[in-house]
């Protein structure tokens, strides 16, 4: 059971309140019909599956209901940071994995 900091509630809470929502920063193209089949495949299916720092989304489903972004180390499962949707991808070099 992970511990997750909701950037909206500003509380660190058990995973049971949250739902995982896949890789972050995959933007739906503004004009989908202009996309090639390869581009649409990329949008729909191709994922980083990063071993290490992973940009991902969670939803505070049983809480404020917000989708937000996170960086998590998929080897240790520890979160490096969480931040609201729509804000820029944080620079990995500024994040250090600390004990909670």
């Amino acid at each position: 059971m992970l511990l997750i900091h909701c950037p909206h509630c500003e509380e660190t809470l058990p995973e049971a309140e949250f739902a995982y929502a896949g890789q972050a920063h995959i933007v739906r193209p503004a004009d989908p019909m202009s996309q090639t089949d390869e581009q649409w495949e990329e949008f729909l299916f191709i994922r980083e599956n990063a071993k290490g720092a992973h940009y991902e989304r969670w939803r505070h489903l049983h809480g404020c209901g917000r989708f937000f972004n996170a960086v998590r180390d998929t080897v240790s499962d520890r979160f490096l940071t969480t931040y609201p949707s729509g804000t820029p991808r944080p620079d990995l070099s500024t994040l250090t994995e600390g004990k909670a």
Binding site: I46, E56, R72, T74, D77
Partner: protein, 417 residues
């Protein structure tokens, strides 16, 4: 290499077991191979075996970052079945079951393929419709699978609770009698022994850090913890770590790696004669030859390489088991463990050439890779040897995610009313 049989066993029993030899040597890498297989699980070792045995390609290395058979091969709940819905899947898995039935003799290694039957339980009208569809499709594909009433389910698996008042009542089940289980470690060891006997090098504890490519884009070999090894062809069969390895060759895949857990109970005398799967409550159970109840859990919701897995999922899995089999409530869990499974969007595997000349991939088996082991290994070896897919694995391409020609076993079983 010592041939295994009862006489050899008896002879060695009398001489203090002095006559046994090592089943595979601990190889060090050569400078160059015709084929390097990345990942020494059942799939990778099996592919090496079939490359040597059926295609005469013996200058082969199987390289693993750990010990052979230490990944999902040795961590799964060993369910083997082929009653899949789509023609493509049914053919692939039934091909595997055909090979399973002779594998012990083929390898001269008892993999204990146990044809004890797999019973899949239906708990709602949608399940019944879905299973009926499977049964009809299987019949016309020549795959055995038949419908059992609740009482027939109970007769086949006496610990089952078929009370109509259950939260998830048993409305019937689909039984594949040819399905069953096998001894997972023996599969890896048997293939390893058979491959080594034919000249394949098995290189353990040697992580492949990158796939190196020639100027023309084709495969040059692999970078490893023990240096660069040249290869004409590289075949990746690295389960949860496939994405990471393939990315070094600039091949991006529709894969995500999730933690999957499984558990066993303390051993008890035989009580559970078959395999039972209940997708609706997420209960997957059989009893090992040692007496342990072997129970599959689900995947955690997030991608991970930690192999840890959470407690809540296990609580749910055990609750599901005791819901369907209430007599097991006072049994005790002995051990639970985790693996990493690589999952594709349509929950079907990829056994395919790649855009990189000389690079091949066998991945995306999700929670169901063990049952396919001989079939996947056999067709993957074919694909690598001939640089074109075997007819059985031809539909399992990477391209299907672009065209939309999915083999969507998951969607076909999906529920929505």
């Amino acid at each position: 290499m010592t041939r295994f049989n009862a006489f050899a066993l008896l002879k060695n029993a009398l001489n203090g077991h002095k006559g046994w030899t090592e089943q595979w040597p601990d190889s060090q890498p050569k400078k160059e191979y015709d084929v390097i297989i990345v990942g020494a699980g059942g799939h990778g070792l099996g592919a090496a075996y079939y490359l040597a045995k059926q295609h005469g390609i013996t200058n082969v290395a199987v390289i693993d970052k750990g010990w052979l058979g230490g990944g999902n091969t040795g961590r799964n709940t060993t369910i083997i079945r082929s009653n899949y819905l789509y023609d493509e899947s049914a053919r692939l898995f039934d091909h595997a079951v055909d090979l399973w039935e002779n594998l012990s003799q083929e390898l001269n290694y008892n993999v204990m393929y146990s044809r004890r039957g797999v019973l899949m339980l239906a708990h709602n009208v949608h399940d019944v419709q879905s299973f009926t569809r499977h049964i009809h499709a299987n019949r016309l594909n020549g795959v055995d699978n038949r419908w059992l009433t609740p009482q027939e389910c109970k007769d086949y698996c006496p610990p089952l609770n078929i009370s109509a008042n259950a939260r998830y009542p048993v409305m019937g089940g689909a039984l594949q009698e040819r399905a069953g289980t096998a001894r997972h470690d023996a599969v890896a060891w048997g293939y390893a022994r058979g491959a080594a006997e034919r000249g394949v090098d098995i290189i353990q504890n040697c992580a492949v850090t990158a796939i190196r490519r020639n100027a023309d884009g084709s495969v040059a070999g692999v970078e490893t913890a023990k240096g660069f090894i040249k290869a004409k062809k590289v075949a990746v069969s690295a389960a949860g770590h496939t994405s990471t390895v393939m990315q070094t060759a600039d091949v991006r895949l529709p894969l995500e790696s999730y933690p999957l857990q499984a558990l066993v109970s303390e051993p008890v005398k035989p009580i559970f004669p078959c395999v039972v799967m209940s997708n609706a409550v997420h209960a997957y159970i059989s009893q090992s030859d040692k007496g342990e109840l072997v129970i599959g859990s689900g995947t955690d919701q997030y991608t991970s390489y930690s192999q840890r897995g959470g407690l809540p999922l296990i609580e749910h899995t055990v609750a599901a088991i005791t819901e369907v089999f209430p007599i097991f409530n006072r049994m005790r869990m002995l051990r639970k463990w985790g693996g990493i499974v690589d999952v594709t969007p349509d929950r079907s595997a990829i056994i395919s050439k790649t855009p990189v000349q000389g690079l091949y991939v066998n991945c995306g088996w999700g929670t169901g890779g063990f049952k396919a082991t001989p079939g996947a290994a056999h067709t993957f070896a074919w694909t690598v040897a001939k640089d074109e897919p075997h007819p059985i694995n031809a539909p399992f391409t990477m391209e299907r995610f672009r065209t939309g020609r999915l083999i969507d076993e998951a969607a076909a079983a999906a529920v929505a009313h």
